[in-house]
Structure formats: structure tokens, C-alpha cells
């Protein structure tokens, strides 16, 4: 089986609104940056794969125009998932494992500012029974947050501490949308957005795009002095029936972590895709982080998606951020997580190592 590594990562700044630009315009500078950093051209890419959503763009076939950002002529080998681009990275990883391609460029993009995100995401629910009631994404998350509090798993102060730590970490991330020094006491004085969630508990609405370059074997070694080798990669989905799931557990995240070989604290860094503070606490338990005595992994040194949540590229960016930690030598072993769907329904785990 081929060894596959992340060798490059670039992202558009996390911004509340990219103005009048389309997905195509968000992607052009990202492609330029990620390819220039590796001294590659588009002809050096064997396989392209992207993640995006028509509903976010408010139109059918929104990914079609993104091909223009590539300049896909002569024709390219290309595929697309209607998911966060972390799953596009999985498809590309599999393609490299087959040996049909040696390099891949994976990208995600989305302009959440074009609509009302929390209402748009309600359309992910069962269209016959749930969606007609318009339970928006923040309200569904609030139900989950409340269940965790009542189960004694955490309190509102724990949630505020997650937000404060994320914002503090994001001060070193020039691409972050939100950062700063906030005390939990101050944060807890803010009003509820959807009880028990306050503004700091919810990821901001963000426009953005990201790209990751994968390479196999010797090609990866030639492109990057210290590639971030993918040593485990798995994803799972849970039932969509909110009333049938125990929303205080995340079985699909646990199963993905086990399949990917993520164990306890034996990673230096973890980038979690937790759009709500209580979800970071649920995921920390589900992934088994903090269970061993190994000193603890650094969680979300980028600030995570609480400091910038570009839909359909945020999960991919978690993998890119974790890979950067490995490629720079700041981490020996890192893990990244991505999520999709209401209340952490679908989850992906990628483990990366420097040697």
C-alpha cells in the first residue's frame, strides 16, 4: 500500500463576508499560494477533489464554476463531494492508495454570508417530519448542550472556558476571524442566543476556502522535507433521528478514532471541528483525549472553528492545520477531526505523523 502524506496547505482568511466575490474568486489565491509554496504547477496535480454545497450557494451545480478557478484545460481528473472537503481529502487519499495518482489537490469553499446559515442548515433534517418545523442548527445544538449539562458532563462555565482558550490561541493565527483575551466571567455575563448557548459558544458565520496537497511516497519526500504522513484515516455516520440518539455521546467519532488508530493522549496536537463549545467537550470525551497520563495533547492551537468556521472547508482546514504542526516540526504526531450534519452526526478522524 502506498504511503500518503499532506505536503501543502493554504487557506483564505476567515472573514464574516468576502464581499461580492464568488467561490471561484475565493479559490484562485488559495490555489496560487499552495502550489507556489511547493514549486508546483496545476499540471503536476494528478487528481483534484473538492467539497462544497449547493444549498450554501443557493443554486444548483455551484461546484461547476469552481473548475474555472483551476483553469481545467487540458482536461483534468476530478471529483466532488457534497460534503465538507475533509471527506474530499478522504476520497483523494483513497485514489492515491490505488496507485492511480501520485499527487492530489483537495479544496473546499463556501460563502455562508450569502444566506441565513442557521436556517439553511435546518434543511439537512428529515424533510417529511422535522424540517417543516424549522428547527435551526443553533437550536438543535442548544438541545444537545442542555442534555450534556443535565447529565452532569459540563457546565456553562466549562463551555465559556473553551471559548476563552480558543480565542487566546487564535491570537497567533493571522487567518482567524475571532481572537482576544476574554475571561470566562466576562463571557458568562452575555445574554443567551439559544439557552444554554451564548454567542461565544457558537462558531461565527464565516466565508472561506482552503486547499491541501497530498503526495505519495518518494514524491512526498521530494516535495516536502518533513511530510505529514497519514497513518490513520476513517469516518463514520450516526443515525439522523435526533430523538433516537443519545446526543451526549458521539459514537461515530469514537468509532472513527478507533479505526484511525487515535488512542488516548499519544498525539501532541489535536485540531477539533467543534462548531459549539459543548461539542468540543463532547468530542474530547468521544475521542478519548485526556484519558491517559501522557501530559495531554494541545487542543486547537489554531483557535479552532469557534474562531472561524468556513462551511465546507473548515474540516479540511483542521487537517491542514494539524499537518502544518507536523511539517514544521512543532508536533511529532497530530490528529485532526471534521464533523458534518446536525448535532455532530457525521465524524472523520485523520492521524498524521512526521516520520
Amino acid at each position: 500500500m502506498n504511503q500518503v502524506a499532506v505536503v501543502g496547505f493554504a487557506q483564505y482568511p476567515n472573514v464574516p463576508s468576502a464581499g461580492t466575490t464568488s467561490g471561484v474568486e475565493l479559490l484562485v489565491p488559495v490555489f496560487q499560494e499552495v502550489l507556489a509554496d511547493l514549486a508546483m504547477s496545476k499540471q503536476d496535480i494528478d487528481f483534484w477533489c473538492s467539497g462544497s454545497s449547493d444549498y450554501l450557494a443557493g443554486r444548483a451545480f455551484s461546484f461547476v464554476n469552481a473548475v474555472d478557478a483551476i483553469g481545467a484545460y487540458p482536461p483534468i481528473v476530478e471529483s466532488h463531494v457534497e460534503m465538507d472537503a475533509a471527506w474530499a481529502l478522504y476520497e483523494a487519499y483513497v485514489k492515491l492508495l490505488t496507485g492511480e495518482a501520485e499527487t492530489a489537490l483537495v479544496y473546499g469553499f463556501g460563502k455562508s454570508s450569502a444566506g441565513q446559515l442557521r436556517r439553511i442548515l435546518a434543511l439537512q433534517l428529515d424533510p417529511y417530519l422535522h424540517a417543516p418545523l424549522w428547527p435551526d442548527s443553533v437550536s438543535v445544538a442548544a438541545l444537545q448542550a442542555r442534555l450534556g449539562i443535565e447529565a452532569g458532563l459540563y457546565g456553562e462555565r466549562d463551555m465559556a472556558e473553551v471559548a476563552a482558550a480558543s480565542r487566546a490561541a487564535a491570537r497567533d493565527n493571522p487567518k482567524a476571524q475571532v481572537s482576544g483575551v476574554d475571561s470566562p466571567d466576562t463571557l458568562l455575563k452575555a445574554p443567551y442566543v439559544a439557552d444554554p448557548l451564548r454567542a461565544h459558544d457558537c462558531a461565527p458565520v464565516t466565508d472561506g476556502a482552503a486547499a491541501v496537497v497530498l503526495a505519495a511516497g518518494d514524491r512526498a519526500r521530494a516535495l516536502r522535507e518533513r511530510p505529514a504522513w497519514i497513518t490513520g484515516f476513517a469516518h463514520r455516520v450516526d443515525s439522523p433521528a435526533l430523538g433516537a440518539r443519545d446526543l451526549t455521546t458521539v459514537p461515530s467519532a469514537t468509532a472513527a478514532a478507533e479505526a484511525a488508530g487515535l488512542r488516548g493522549d499519544d498525539v501532541d496536537v489535536v485540531e477539533l471541528h467543534a462548531p459549539f463549545t459543548h461539542q468540543q467537550l463532547l468530542l474530547t470525551r468521544a475521542l478519548g483525549l485526556g484519558e491517559s497520563d501522557g501530559g495531554g495533547a494541545r487542543i486547537n492551537p489554531s483557535g479552532g472553528v469557534l474562531c472561524g468556521n468556513p462551511m465546507f472547508s473548515a474540516g479540511l482546514s483542521r487537517i491542514g492545520a494539524a499537518a502544518e504542526q507536523v511539517m514544521s516540526g512543532r508536533a511529532g504526531r497530530a490528529a485532526a477531526h471534521a464533523t458534518s450534519g446536525p448535532a455532530l452526526q457525521q465524524n472523520l478522524v485523520c492521524v498524521l505523523e512526521g516520520a
Binding site: 444548483a60 466532488h80 463514520r236 468509532a255
Partner: protein
């Protein structure tokens, strides 16, 4: 490279409106048939890949999420593919990659479209910012390309009607087909209303509700199968932009290059003699001769001669769309997987009344967008 094979296929009854089932019920109709055909069950399925065209066709954002239980995906890996009209083909290719990469042993590929849940014409007519509207619908978009083909090739005007008659009569042999018209004639097609000159009403595909599922297994699973399997000999995908200065809409370079890569990988040097049956994505009848050329079955400008000579009929040199094809059933997201599945059914000897006698090697083909996304595979009775 590891080998992979189609172990079984299933499809729904395709109709204008399947009001008797939900989206979940529609998918399960195809999945249950595919699992039975593959002589397997849920305990042996490692992952699910779902493909469909735009979410606006049903009005559900990422419907694989709410369908997870019905798709048998809960607790398993679930991927959702979307590459426009080619998506059904891409779905099969992604599923086969998961097997050929050694990640999984058996993967379920499922594709569906329930167009009656929403309004496809509305979904395709939204005017996005920053994009010049075409305002023509699919038929209006493709009609100028067909006119250009006729002008370049000198094809006589009745070739499109010949394809329509052949496909609809083939569809009458296919119990799943949406349109089944055993009595259709050249005269009746030519008497049908002109929609987008030169495309007449009877030369267009229907709008269908339907689904298709395929179980793909590794070499061990294929060799353990008591029934014949369809070995996946090669796959190919290519993409180019919708429009640009050098675009050839009659003979797109992406389709041309995908076909050359496919034949090379499958070890096929003369597709016309080596392919026994072809399921080609023909939503408007004139696309049969156009794609015969793009795929390399005929030289540019010569494809219509194969059609006119009857060589693409069930008993011809190259039977094209023995199932009736997209001209008889068009659940858009599933149409590509139906082409791939029907090709597999031919080499497995399970195509029933539309079986091509002695088919050993078959082509499945799909395209999408503005003739810009191409996906195809070659399947055979033997691995190589």
C-alpha cells in the same frame, strides 16, 4: 493493482412520480434488490457511497444525512458524491476505488433522484449572481451542439429519430423502464412536436423518479460468488470547464481523453470490435452518434453511419443502450449508475429480455454539466 468486481445490481421501477415511496423507500427498493442479486446482506457491507445530482431537485440539503439509517450507513463510512449528470458513474468509480485501494471488501454504491419531490426546471433555472444566464433549459442548451454536429458531419435528419425508435423499443424489453413504447415508429417520432429545433418531443429523455444500487467486491468476494460477476477492467474520469474559447461541444476533449485512457487501461485497441454492448448516456437521441465518435467507436463525422446502418440495435455490431437508456428512464442522479449497472448486467448474463447474446465486455458511460464531466468503465466476464 487490486481487482474489483460488480457482485450484484438493483434498480427501481422508474416512473414520473413515485408517490408510493419516500426518498428512503425509493433507495431501499434498489438497495434490497442489489443485495439480493449479490447474494449478500448488510453484515457484509463495509461502506456506502451515495450519489445524486443537485440537492435542489428534492429540496433537502445533503439528503444522505437524513437517509443514513435507510441506506444502512449508520455506524459505517458514508460518502456523498456530486458531479452533475455524471454523478452515477462517479459514484461507482469512487466505490470501486475503495475496494481497489484495499480499504474495504464490499462497498454499496447507491444513486437516486426523486424529481417529483421538487421542481427540476425551477432548480435548474435559478439565476445565480456573477453568472451569465443561459435561460434555455437542458434541451435549449444542447440543441445548438446537435445542429453543429449535423452541419459538421452531414448526417441526414432522420438519424435522431432512428435512435429514438431503437431506444424506446429496447425500453419495452426492460421491465424497469419508465417509457416502454413497443409500437413507436420513425413516422410517429418525426410527427411529434418540435421542442428545440432539431430536437423533437420523442427525441428527449423523460423526467423520472428512480434509484440504482450496485454492490462492488474485492477479488476474494468475487471469486467466492456462486453467480457470475462483472470484473471492473478499467475506469476513467475527466473534467473540463463549461465554456471557453477552445471548447468543442460536439466532441469535447474531456470525453475524448477519458475514453482513450479507459481503452488503454482496459487493454482495448479496437473498441468497435472488442466491446460487445455499450450503455452510453444519451439524453437526447442525437447524442448517440456524437458520443460514438467521442468514445472512438467511429471517426469524427462517421458515427451516424453506424446508427443508420442499424449497427447499434440489439442485434447489431455494437448494441447501444439495450436497456433503452436515458431516453427511456432519467432519474438524473441515478442515470449514470444505471448505465454502469446495465453494462455489468450484460456481462453477468442477467439483462433478461434485453440481453445481448454472448456479451463478454461492456462499456458504461456517463456525462454531465455542459458536456464537461465524464465518467466511464469497462466491465468483463474475466478480470483482464
Amino acid at each position: 493493482m487490486r481487482r474489483a468486481a460488480v457482485l450484484g445490481t438493483g434498480q427501481t421501477e422508474h416512473r414520473t412520480r413515485r408517490t408510493d415511496v419516500t426518498m428512503a423507500g425509493l433507495c431501499r427498493e434498489a438497495i434490497d434488490r442489489a443485495l439480493a442479486d449479490a447474494d449478500t446482506d448488510w453484515s457484509q457491507i463495509d461502506a456506502v457511497v451515495l450519489g445524486k445530482a443537485p440537492d435542489l431537485f428534492e429540496g433537502v440539503m445533503m439528503p444522505e444525512l437524513f437517509l443514513a439509517d435507510a441506506l444502512g450507513a449508520t455506524g459505517r463510512p458514508l460518502l456523498r458524491v456530486h458531479t452533475a449528470g455524471s454523478v452515477g458513474g462517479t459514484t461507482a468509480i469512487v466505490a470501486s476505488s475503495l475496494v481497489r485501494a484495499g480499504v474495504h471488501k464490499r462497498v454499496l454504491a447507491i444513486a437516486f433522484e426523486k424529481q417529483s419531490e421538487s421542481n427540476a426546471m425551477w432548480a435548474l433555472s435559478i439565476q445565480p449572481p456573477f453568472t451569465m444566464p443561459v435561460g434555455a433549459g437542458a434541451g435549449g442548451y444542447f440543441a445548438p451542439h446537435i445542429r453543429s454536429y449535423i452541419r459538421r458531419s452531414g448526417a441526414p435528419p432522420h438519424v435522431g429519430a432512428l435512435v429514438a425508435v431503437k431506444d424506446r423499443r429496447n425500453g419495452a424489453l426492460n421491465p424497469h423502464a419508465h417509457l416502454r413504447q413497443p409500437d413507436i415508429t420513425l413516422e410517429s417520432v418525426q410527427a411529434s412536436p418540435m421542442l428545440w429545433d432539431p430536437i423533437r418531443y420523442d427525441e428527449t429523455c423523460p423526467s423520472s423518479d428512480g434509484a440504482c444500487a450496485v454492490v462492488i467486491g474485492d477479488q476474494e468476494a468475487a471469486e467466492a460468488s456462486a453467480r457470475p460477476v462483472a470484473w471492473i477492467r478499467a475506469t476513467a474520469m475527466r473534467t473540463e470547464p463549461t465554456s471557453f474559447a477552445g471548447k468543442d461541444h460536439v466532441n469535447p476533449r474531456a470525453g475524448y481523453e477519458a475514453a482513450r485512457a479507459l481503452w488503454h487501461a482496459a487493454g482495448i485497441t479496437d473498441p468497435l470490435s472488442q466491446i460487445d454492448a455499450a450503455e452510453i448516456y444519451v439524453p437526447f437521441s442525437w447524442f448517440e452518434p456524437m458520443w460514438l465518435e467521442n468514445l472512438g467507436f467511429a471517426e469524427p463525422g462517421q458515427g451516424w453511419k453506424l446508427t443508420e446502418a442499424g449497427e447499434t440495435r440489439l442485434d447489431g455490431l455494437l448494441p447501444v443502450n439495450p436497456s433503452g437508456g436515458v431516453m427511456c428512464s432519467n432519474p438524473i442522479g441515478a442515470s449514470g449508475l444505471l448505465r454502469f449497472a446495465e453494462a455489468a448486467m450484460q456481462v453477468m448474463g442477467r439483462a433478461g429480455e434485453h440481453q445481448v447474446t454472448g456479451a463478454r465486455t461492456a462499456l458504461g458511460h456517463a456525462y454531465g454539466g455542459g458536456s464537461q464531466f465524464f465518467a466511464m468503465w469497462v466491465v468483463g466476464t474475466t478480470p483482464a
